[in-house]
């Protein structure tokens, strides 16, 4: 009976380690800040929860502390991810809209928060609007 609980705990621990590895690979490989946040915010929270569940199976005396930690992680993880995403959005999105409306390319946010494809699409949009203004004149 003891060994069955240990094996269930080990399986849960390695599932959690796999989730954490997926989060790290996502943060390493994805192109811009929003997608990296998408990778780290979900998988790292889930990884900690699975590792905690496995630890609770192997070490039953710690189950209350692990429960408290997991509930705290469930509430704090998405709030932290949302705070980072809101900070990124407030810092860059308005500049790009302003650049499109005024046709000023120096306002485009090239600091790397957005992927190269998105920045190129913003620049193309500015070119199109300036051409339309010239043809109407």
């Amino acid at each position: 009976m003891d060994q069955i609980l240990d094996i269930i705990g080990l399986i849960l621990i390695f599932v959690g380690v796999a989730f954490s590895a997926l989060g790290v690979i996502g943060v390493l490989r994805l192109p811009d800040t929003y997608t990296r946040l998408h990778a780290s915010g979900k998988t790292s929270t889930l990884g900690v929860i699975f590792i905690g569940a496995g630890t609770a199976f192997i070490l039953p005396s710690a189950i209350l502390k692990i429960l408290a930690l997991c509930i705290f992680i469930i509430f704090s993880g998405p709030v932290g991810s949302h705070a980072i995403a809101a900070a990124v959005h407030r810092g860059s999105a308005h500049h790009n809209e302003e650049a499109i409306s005024t046709g000023n390319k120096s306002l485009v946010d090239g600091s790397g928060v957005h992927s190269k494809e998105y920045i190129q699409s913003v620049l193309n949009q500015i070119d199109e609007t300036s051409q339309q203004q010239q043809s109407s004149n």
């Binding site: 390695f14 790290v24 502390k65």
Partner: protein
Amino acid sequence: MNGIDVAVNIAILIMVILLPIAFYRVAKSRQKAAERLVGVDLITNLIVGIVMLLAIIEQTDTTIDIGIVLAALSFAGTVSIARYISEGRVF
């Protein structure tokens, strides 16, 4: 050292190998502070996982208190730094 300890040590080894990979994203990022904040948040979550695995090796539940305190402090730090990035001040 029985089989459980060996397997948990392998899990800790994998998690510790993941740490410098996540730190590479923090150190080499050409982006703004928000980009580094994503990496630091991920590293903290990895360390909380490692601390819980260490509790199995030590056979004591006192080690998990470290994880609770680290999670609480990292949440406060993440939210305040995000607020500093977006508004230019913390309070």
